[in-house]
């Protein structure tokens, strides 16, 4: 990127960020051109559930919202026979998939909170067909510089198995009631755009590569909150192990979290942890996990509550409420259903550093391009 472009670009992201946090009517209008959920930081790099990219058919404005009541909301899900541990608590142990076709945000032309089972089945079939179509698209289509949508589709979730509508909900976001995430803060938008700029330009060093490419962090994957992942994702499973004083949530990709259940004190306020400090307790059959002590921008002010409720042997309702003043302008809440992989004996290790030759090859590709351009200029 040339210096002049950089200045225009920086001005654009700052201005766009300001507009994204602007109040009232202006904000509602601007949000119509906001990134799709697949471009939000929550699901980048992990495959996203179906995107709400349908045309706008209604305003976001609605009646004043009631505060989110997780107990009432969780009661709307059918509960069947729940297996239990010796101590009487629900037995959530096993390997769970967070793949779901339920979109992160409600499509703008959808005003219903749920769809019917026939529509859900149709959407499942269509989503898998889309994955097939991506694989077999002609290779001589104009590819452009960026990518081809078919990149590795063949290997991913949604090709070899149908990603299910794991509930009939029309969004994972349940609060705000319109099913859409509150806007990013200005600071978060600037961070996101800066990361995108680094990601899209020719690599100069491993240091400008995304955290995911460096095997450090995968936003949106377990640790500590996570979202449902749509077709085209990978590393979409997690394992839950319940001990006497701890619950372990072991993500397939990169991180595990230990949830302490023994009411031990929290770390001092000046201790900041990447995954936060997790303290769990049971409220009836729901495991409630309160997170504090986060690192990162405004990590000290960030608060997260996660909730797990087993619906039956193979379905686990997961939800969270995120209050993160450094990232979103308002708190929001999410709910979706995980499903158990009953044929997996163990979580297959995703040892990302094991053979992360991608960094080396990314840099060698960039230097090859440099040489090509230098040769062209020399002609």
């Amino acid at each position: 990127m040339r210096p002049k472009d950089s200045i225009s670009y920086a001005a654009a992201i700052v201005a766009a960020g300001l507009l994204a946090t602007a109040p009232s009517r202006l904000s509602a209008q601007a949000s119509q051109t906001a990134p799709k959920s697949s471009e939000n930081e929550e699901c980048r790099g992990n495959g996203c559930a179906a995107s709400p990219d349908a045309p706008v058919a209604e305003s976001d404005a609605g009646a004043p919202a009631k505060p989110y009541d997780w107990k009432a909301s969780f009661k709307e899900y059918k509960v069947g026979k729940v297996p239990r541990l010796a101590d009487g608590h629900p037995d959530m142990q096993g390997i769970w998939s967070r793949t779901t076709l339920v979109p992160m945000e409600r499509p703008r032309n959808q005003d219903k909170k749920e769809i019917d089972a026939a529509t859900a089945a149709k959407l499942e079939n269509e989503a898998q067909q889309k994955q097939f179509d991506l694989r077999t698209e002609p290779t001589d289509t104009p590819p452009g510089e960026k990518t081809t949508d078919a990149y590795n589709t063949f290997w991913r979730d949604g090709y070899w198995f149908k990603v299910p509508m794991s509930s009939l909900r029309t969004s994972q976001v349940v609060d705000p009631p319109n099913g859409r995430l509150p806007p990013l803060t200005l600071a978060a938008r600037v961070r996101q755009n800066r990361a995108a700029e680094l990601d899209n330009r020719r690599a100069t060093s491993y240091e400008d590569r995304p955290m995911s490419s460096r095997c450090i962090q995968r936003p949106g994957t377990p640790g500590p909150a996570f979202n449902g992942s749509g077709p085209g994702g990978q590393e979409s499973t997690l394992e839950i192990i319940q001990g006497t004083d701890t619950v372990l949530v072991r993500g397939e990709s990169l991180v595990s979290q230990v949830i302490y259940m023994d009411a031990r004190p929290r770390p001092a306020a000046d201790v900041h942890l990447q995954l936060g400090s997790a303290r769990g307790h049971w409220e009836g059959d729901t495991l409630i996990v309160e997170y504090t002590n986060f690192s990162g921008a405004d990590g000290g002010r960030r608060h997260l509550t996660a909730r797990y409720k087993l619906l039956d042997a193979n379905h686990l309702l997961f939800g969270y409420t995120s209050d993160d003043p450094g990232a979103r302008t308002k708190p929001f809440s999410v709910e979706f259903v995980l499903w158990k992989l009953t044929d997996q004996e163990q979580l297959v290790e995703y040892a990302c550093h094991e053979g992360n030759v991608g960094l080396e090859f990314t840099l060698s590709a960039a230097r090859a391009k440099d040489r090509e351009e230098a040769a062209d200029e020399g002609k």
Partner: protein, 142 residues
């Protein structure tokens, strides 16, 4: 500045800002592979490396002049392969496969494996049936 002017400005700005594409892999396609260089390779497997974050399949490809090149084909991560029904027996050495993919930008004998089939077009392995996947839409309201 009037709200309407601001709104028009908002539209203009949000249109020109290059938004990140959904980066589905752990690194971007374009950073490594050249979408302008699609390749179709047929060769016999010399090694299958079950390695994270991507598995690699090595094949010997015979060129028209009779010489042999050993190509490295990038595949999915082991965990995803297992879920897809891929096993250790799925790709024994000497199995002849056909690969559609895109060549590495640095010109090495390396490509991403967008699609891998047997030479007659049959797929290499049978997909998982996602046992446990909800069939009854448990989110249905009571």
């Amino acid at each position: 500045m009037k709200a309407r002017t601001l709104f028009i400005l908002a539209l203009a700005l949000t249109t020109v800002i290059p938004l990140a594409p959904p980066a589905l892999a752990h690194h971007s396609f374009a950073a490594e592979y050249d979408a302008d260089k699609p390749v179709t390779l047929t060769g016999s497997v010399t090694k299958m490396a079950w390695i994270n974050p991507h598995s690699w399949i090595y094949i010997n490809v015979k060129k028209a002049d009779g010489t042999v090149e050993n190509w490295a084909i990038e595949a999915g991560p082991p965990g995803t392969l297992v879920r897809a029904g891929f096993t250790k027996e799925s790709l024994a050495n000497d199995t002849v496969i056909k690969v559609n993919g895109y060549r590495a930008k640095d010109g090495a004998l390396r490509a991403n494996g967008r699609d891998i089939t047997l030479p007659d077009g049959r797929l290499l392995f049978v997909g998982g049936s996602s046992p446990g996947a909800p069939k009854d839409f448990p989110g249905t309201s009571k």
